[in-house]
Amino acid sequence: MDKPVEKGKFVFTRESLKKKFRWSEFLSEKIITGVAFLSITIIVLIFVFVFKEALPIFNYKKKEAVKVEQVQKQEQYGGEADQGQTNSSGQEQYGVTTNDTMMIENQARAEDTIVHGSEQATFKSLAGKKWLPVSDNPRYGLVPLFVGTLKITLIAMLFAAPIAILAALFSASFAPYWMREIIKPAIELLAGFPSVVIGFFALMVMASFFQNIFGYDGRLNAFVGGVAMALAAIPIIFTITEDALTAVPRTYTEASLALGATRWQTALFVTLPAATPGIFAAILLGIGRVFGETMIALMATGNAALISVNPFESVRTLAATIGAEMAEVVFGDTHYNVLFLIGSLLFVFNFSLNALAEFYVKGKLVKRFQGKQS
């Protein structure tokens, strides 16, 4: 901080016009720039560290090549494959136990001898159809987890996308000002609901409600979980869609109205098509949210790794698997590495979705509105 310049004495010279070097300025700028790098650093670190813990699986493949023969032998006389099938609704040993699956699980627990740190997981078993991480012959087939995650994402998006997009259209095109002032903050508040609260609501209220309507057996299933996840995805889809709709230049709608189209025709045939890239981005981010949602999946889906297309059967998602099993595994175990591998997959998937939404969609929007909006 300099003293005020003395009056009258000021003479401009080449020297005095030069920018003074100030330590405080220099330091503050460097520190601020350094801190700003933090976000990038964190992303890189997340990638490195989550992947690092998953890496031993890939190394293990080489070691395993020698052991393959041995493993195959075991599989032949073990017959655990059948055992696995009968237990399929209660595979997780230490994970979430809900009221409904508790009994089956106890049974399963008694039948399976649990061997921690078993070294028989092969790289090949990752593509298998069975997720039996805690058993004599652990298998880490990711297929049922993928199927479960996709199923629940599909169900959630079938509910969330139409409702959120239509509501956004209402808010952006039809609703009077006062109504918009209620809808938008309300949905912001919904976005603030903790997912554990939504999960609890689904587990205690929605599950019984839907069971009464549809009359299926398992209280917790993909449908309940999917609808609950729709609640988590709606605010994201709504907000981004609404932004995209209001970003459509006024000239578009005015031209349409001037040509004699009614309000709803303008909204449906002019505003909505103009905002499609934004809506596409909204759906992508909604999918990302559902894909990685853990607590709702843990609480409301029943958590059995089944492969089926029936929406009223229990599923186990990728994220829920990490959440349920990570606390129980031995550090450095194959199971531990597989969970980190699932984490890496989730991260990469989410990262790609976000990048796609960001670059592809933004580029399109900017081109469409001639750089007016982004």
């Binding site: 300025e25 601020i32 609901f193 903790p194 609480m299 980190f340």
Partner: protein
Amino acid sequence: MSRKKDITGGFFIGVTAFSAFVIIAVIIILLVVIIKGGKDTFSWEFLTAFPEDGMMKGGIFPAIYGTALLVLIMSIAAVPFGTITAIYLTEYAHEKSVLAQTIRFAVRTLATVPSIIFGLFGLGFFIKFVGGGVDDFFLGGELKWGQPNILWASLTMALLTLPVVIVSVEEAIRTVPRELREASLALGATKWETIKRIVIPGSRSGIMTGTILAVSRGAGEVAPILFTGAAYYLATLPTSMSDQFMNLGYHIYILATQSANVDQTLPIQFATTMVLLLLTFTLNLAAVIIRSRLRRKAK
């Protein structure tokens, strides 16, 4: 205009209005059901007492205390860093520069990373790498920091809430009029002095909104702390950074899915959920109000 068109139009508008109505209705139903289920158990004693009888009875004080401590440490970490990043993005970086664009992309990515991934990262980085490293290096292998505790959980949560802070503060900084900055610079203040005396005070409400939103998010998230520090049940409150802690959200999760007698603890579950829901709801409402005021001012 034919009559038929008006009917389709009315129907279409009706459908969109109905969708909006459904969302609002679900929000109200959720609030009402949770509050109805929890209000009988809820009392001052419930908030201030320890759990009893293996969490079958009693209050949730340790969970509230743990959550408060978690968000406090989290805010201390996230708010300054978030604010500084926002200052860089608005005051130092050129809008179109590659670096600024990359940072923005990183922030948005960070905001969409699933919370469970933060948990994995906390485990792999904070607990195993940093904590384990500290143990090996300073304590000669004694296990102290290389295990889940409140510090690692809070820092993990801070990473999760960092984008929330950045976005809110950035929005607020943009509402500080350019004329104020120019006046300050014209009077001979340096850039840093201008930021310190003009920009930061001018965006105080934004920093507050960011903090409130971050606290609300941090109080509600469970997935990141599942294996970075939350404990099932503790008889004592955490007194050191290397202690584990109880947490409201985790408490709900445990009681609703892991406890032996779910039905018996149902009132406690509803009451705990009600506490968490009302806490985050109030915080978010406050943030919404402050922000809408800020936006009106910006216009």
